[in-house]
């Protein structure tokens, strides 16, 4: 499929900004519905466009597609350089998808509607930009742009200790990016360019800082984002206190910025360093999986539980990267996409339960599926997908990760596989306690999901099943990015 020549990525990235302006410029008396429709439109168009790009993506060739490259700050050697490859395209699609669903999931917002949708749209632009930028400074710019919208969204529309959680999120991320800035300036000094493709061609010469030091300065920023134990403590707070739609975005795509950047930058630029420290990555991955799962078991709050399970699932991404082979990397990349859809779905469901039952404490729920069968069934589906049931996308991704890592790190793989057992434990236990058994009389009059709420649920279930049954849709695309990433390792 050939497309007319257009700056597709620019359009996709900046449509939400246009939407945000369109929202802000509406009259103060404008009805909430008009604002919501505007926001929905400007997040739906990027989704359509990125789906078209996904269809038009040529998976017979490797390398970058839809390239846009113009000088931006020539005196600093900075380019406006956007492109996607098999690694970033699924994430662009995921962001556009969850961005749109997040707007739908926010339909019942009634507080300061204009501001809310404007910030949500700006947030989407920041994340899309991160995935599509191949100039390190541009990447860094988008990486930072996302902070302010997140801060506002959590601290105004959140719940609980929202201002604390929002501030913690910002300070953690900023600390990470502070070190990333030093690393990226040192890289610029060593290589004379901000171009990530150019940087990845040759080993990084040691000049102002040794390559290993630069590697870890940058890795630190991504490890905060992913998050890697013990830098994860911002995540449960931010997730728990964020409004539903923001949790969806946060777990669905923001964490992936960390995993994506590790593959693109830590692996792409420093293959020599990463192969030295692969055991460290594998260890961190296993710790993440097991620690995350163990802590999840203890949670009473549904949202906190899903948050901790994200930490556990991000461990597989780390583990998949540490294998440094095509299978493991494909698994890591696919895990990011599938986790985005599954956890996005889980957070949507938790949001619905909370909206209706006004509690997220598992012991206070019970027997909900009597009153809300649709939510109950979809929750079961999402839970099974999360624990890696075959025919669901989670299974394929985790299987690939294990297949990739077992030949390299067999002990680590066996340990991490135990995480699946723990996941099954907490998921099934949670489903049992909240949705089955006798109905808690307090919840006798709850309503099920209405039509509008069902759209995001069913569409995500659809994506999860499609990838679970026919993973080649995604893996064929991802596979095109792998040779480039591994070529300096002789893979």
């Amino acid at each position: 499929m050939t497309l007319p020549e257009l700056p597709y990525l620019t359009i996709i990235i900046f449509l939400p900004v246009v939407g945000a302006l369109a929202v802000v410029l509406q009259q103060t008396t404008a009805p909430g519905r008009a604002i919501k429709l505007t926001a929905a439109l400007f997040s739906f168009l990027p989704l359509v466009l990125s789906f078209i790009l996904f269809l038009a993506f040529d998976s017979r060739t490797t390398g970058l597609q839809f390239v846009e490259k113009y000088p931006w700050i020539p005196r600093l050697g900075v380019n406006y350089f956007l492109a996607v490859d098999g690694l970033s395209l699924p994430l662009v699609l995921l962001t556009a998808l969850l961005g749109f669903l997040a707007i739908l999931a926010s339909w019942k917002i009634s507080l300061r509607i204009k501001e809310y949708f404007a910030w949500l749209l700006l947030l989407e632009t920041g994340v899309l930009g991160v995935f599509a930028s191949l100039d390190f400074l541009l990447f860094f710019l988008f990486w930072e742009v996302e902070l302010v919208p997140m801060y506002m969204l959590i601290s105004i529309w959140g719940s609980g200790r929202k201002v604390y959680s929002a501030t913690k999120f910002v300070i953690y991320t900023l600390t990470g990016s502070a070190f990333m800035l030093v690393g990226l300036l040192a890289l610029y000094f060593s290589t004379g360019t901000f171009d990530l493709v150019e940087m990845s061609q040759h080993p990084i010469p040691a000049t102002v800082l040794p390559a290993t030091a630069i590697f870890f300065l940058i890795f630190f920023a991504f490890a905060v984002k992913l998050p890697v134990f013990p830098l994860h403590t911002w995540l449960p707070d931010a997730h728990t206190d964020a409004p539903t739609a923001v949790s969806v975005i946060l777990a669905g795509v923001l964490l992936k910025m960390g995993g994506y950047a590790m593959i693109r930058i830590n692996l792409g630029l420093f293959p020599e360093v990463i192969s030295t420290y692969a055991p460290l990555l594998a260890t961190l991955g296993v710790v993440n999986v097991l620690y995350g799962a163990a802590v999840t078991l203890l949670q009473q709050d549904l949202k906190r539980m899903i948050a901790y399970s994200s930490i556990s699932h991000m461990g597989y991404v780390l583990l998949g990267i540490s294998a440094l082979n095509p299978v493991g990397l494909t698994g890591a990349a696919l895990q990011m996409f599938t986790h985005g859809t599954i956890t996005g779905l889980l957070f949507l469901l938790v949001g619905l339960v909370y909206d209706k039952a006004h509690t997220r404490q598992i012991p206070e729920l019970g027997g909900l599926s009597h009153r809300m069968p649709v939510i109950g069934i979809v929750f079961v589906v999402a839970g099974l997908a999360s624990l890696g049931l075959p025919t669901m996308s989670g299974f394929v991704a985790e299987m690939l990760v294990f297949l990739g890592t077992f030949p390299v790190w067999n002990v680590a793989t066996v340990l991490a596989a135990f995480g699946i057992v723990l996941t099954a434990g907490y998921m099934l236990w949670m489903l049992q306690r909240s949705f089955f058994g006798p109905l808690n009389p307090r919840h006798a009059s709850l309503a099920d999901a209405d039509a509008l709420e069902r759209i995001p649920l069913f569409s995500l279930v659809g994506v999860i099943v499609i990838i679970g049954v026919y993973p080649a849709v995604m893996t064929n695309v991802i596979a095109t990015a792998i040779p480039q990433l591994l070529n300096r390792l002789g893979g």
């Binding site: 700050i73 005196r75 600093l76 930072e144 800035l181 300036l185």
Partner: protein, 480 residues
């Protein structure tokens, strides 16, 4: 004074002329708004002449080589004139507090601007000292314009500490004169090159004294004691002016003196290291002490100390890139800090309070002012898409190029600390419950000034290339 001298000095002479004119007209004019307009005309005329000098190839020296009209000084002239113009615009609603002294207020803004312009041009110690005093005396008076106890205290404190720092500076200059027998910067550089090593301790002492004098002007730790009280007590437009123009003038004079006169004998006194240490102290102390502040002017005072710390990272680099980084940073900082202050002037004037807690819910009472202030605060943290982001990347890049990665790490960690208190204001404005539902508005000229500043922050943040190329040309012109 030759014709050429007059021609090259006209930007300053115009300001002097308008200052006198305003004081005289003040006697007869009832509507003091005319005085503000006349001040703007004076600033505009001066800027126009500066533009003629820039474009017309009239660069050179004046008054027997004591003043340089080069790209460096022309850039700073534009900066000071622009800052003064924005401050005058922002004063329009506020100046009724000065009652019948508005004429003097505008006249002093003009004379201090003239002093700063001379500071950026001076190539000779005595000229530099006199222009610095012209600036300072005007500013001491401006600090006391509210005539309430706090403002009086601010003025007196500024005067006393300023006088001490001037004395120390003069002593440092005297030591240089004694060592070299010269007052002209080029001649000093030559003489220092031939100076025997036995004199190094004296030179070191001289450099320390000069750093002290300039450090006071740029509000670097440990010469910052005056900042919080003076910033709090002064009329807010004067605080804005101090934090931007006076600081920029301090950097202009520091850049010129240290690059031209003291560039050579680094073995005598490694002033790059001195500035690196002052940078660390200023950033760290400024940011940490800003956190507990309840008064927004005090908070911005400490923040300006921290910003001076980032700027001194550029002084420590001793490179062309570092110097252009300082120039770029100063321009972005001028937009950013003036934007923040103009919003603060408008809000605080209306609610009659400088307490951050009284800014609660300002996002409801004035989305425009609160939004603009937030945007400028984000720029001060260094988050894109703002001028502050590019400025930090550019300046820190210069430092990494010179192997100062350790200093950059300290600076970026400091930026994280700063996010905490800047966001505190954002938190109050967006998350706080408004104390009243009365709308907060600003007069048109102030809104225009705010628009100029915030649009500047955004444009420089998105399209920094033109300003970078100017900063590089300006930085290069410093070394003949």
């Amino acid at each position: 004074m030759t014709f050429e001298d007059a021609y090259r000095l006209s930007p300053e002479l115009i300001l002097g002329f308008f200052a006198i004119l305003i004081v005289l007209l003040d006697l007869g004019v009832r509507r003091k708004g005319w005085l503000a307009a006349l001040t703007l005309v004076g600033l505009g005329a001066s800027a126009a002449w500066t533009a003629v000098l820039t474009a017309g190839g009239w660069q050179g020296t004046a008054l027997g080589d004591t003043l340089a009209v080069d790209n460096f000084s022309l850039f700073f002239k534009f900066l000071f004139l622009g800052a003064a113009a924005l401050v005058v615009l922002a004063s329009t609603g506020y100046s009724i507090r000065f009652a019948r002294f508005q004429g003097e207020y505008y006249a002093l803004v003009l004379t201090s601007a003239a002093g700063m312009m001379l500071m950026a041009s001076g190539r000779e110690l005595i000229t530099l000292y006199i222009s610095l005093e012209l600036t300072s005396l005007s500013l001491y008076a401006l600090a006391g314009f509210l005539k309430d106890p706090r403002s009086n205290e601010a003025s007196l404190k500024y005067l006393l500490l300023g006088a001490i720092s001037s004395a120390v500076l003069l002593y440092g200059m005297a030591l240089l004169l004694g060592l070299t027998g010269e007052t002209h910067l080029d001649a000093i550089a030559n003489a220092l090159g031939r100076m025997p090593g036995a004199n190094y301790p004296v030179l070191f002492l001289g450099i320390i004294f000069i750093v002290t004098g300039f450090g006071f002007k740029i509000a670097a730790v440990p010469f910052q004691m005056w900042v919080p009280d003076v910033y709090e007590g002064s009329p807010t437009p004067v605080t804005a002016y101090l934090s931007v123009a006076s600081k920029a003038a301090g950097f202009a004079i520091t850049l010129r003196v240290f690059t031209l006169a003291l560039g050579g004998p680094r073995e005598a006194a490694d002033w790059s290291l001195i500035f690196a240490i002052l940078a660390v102290a200023s950033m760290t102390l400024g940011n940490i002490l800003a956190i507990p502040q309840a008064n927004i002017k005090r908070m911005l005072g400490y923040s300006s100390i921290a910003q001076a710390g980032y700027l001194m990272v550029g002084l420590a680099t001793l490179s062309d890139l570092g110097r252009s980084g300082i120039i770029f940073f100063l321009a972005s900082y001028a937009f950013t800090n003036l934007g923040a202050f103009i919003a603060v002037i408008a809000i605080s004037h209306r609610i009659d309070s400088d307490l951050i807690s009284d800014y609660a819910g300002m996002a409801h009472r004035s989305p425009l002012l609160a939004g603009a202030l937030t945007f400028c605060l984000i720029s001060l943290v260094g988050i894109p898409p703002t001028a502050g982001f590019i400025a930090k990347v550019y300046l820190f890049n210069a430092a990494v190029q010179q192997g100062l990665a350790w200093l950059v790490i300290i600076a970026v960690v400091n930026s994280v600390i700063s996010a905490y208190y800047y966001l505190g204001v954002v938190k109050a404005m967006f998350m706080g419950t408004p104390l009243s539902l009365e709308r907060v508005t600003a007069v048109r000229p102030a809104l225009a000034a705010l628009a100029v500043a915030t649009v500047g922050v955004l444009v420089v943040g998105i399209l920094p290339e033109p300003l970078i190329s100017i900063a590089q040309a300006v930085g290069r012109s410093l070394i003949p």
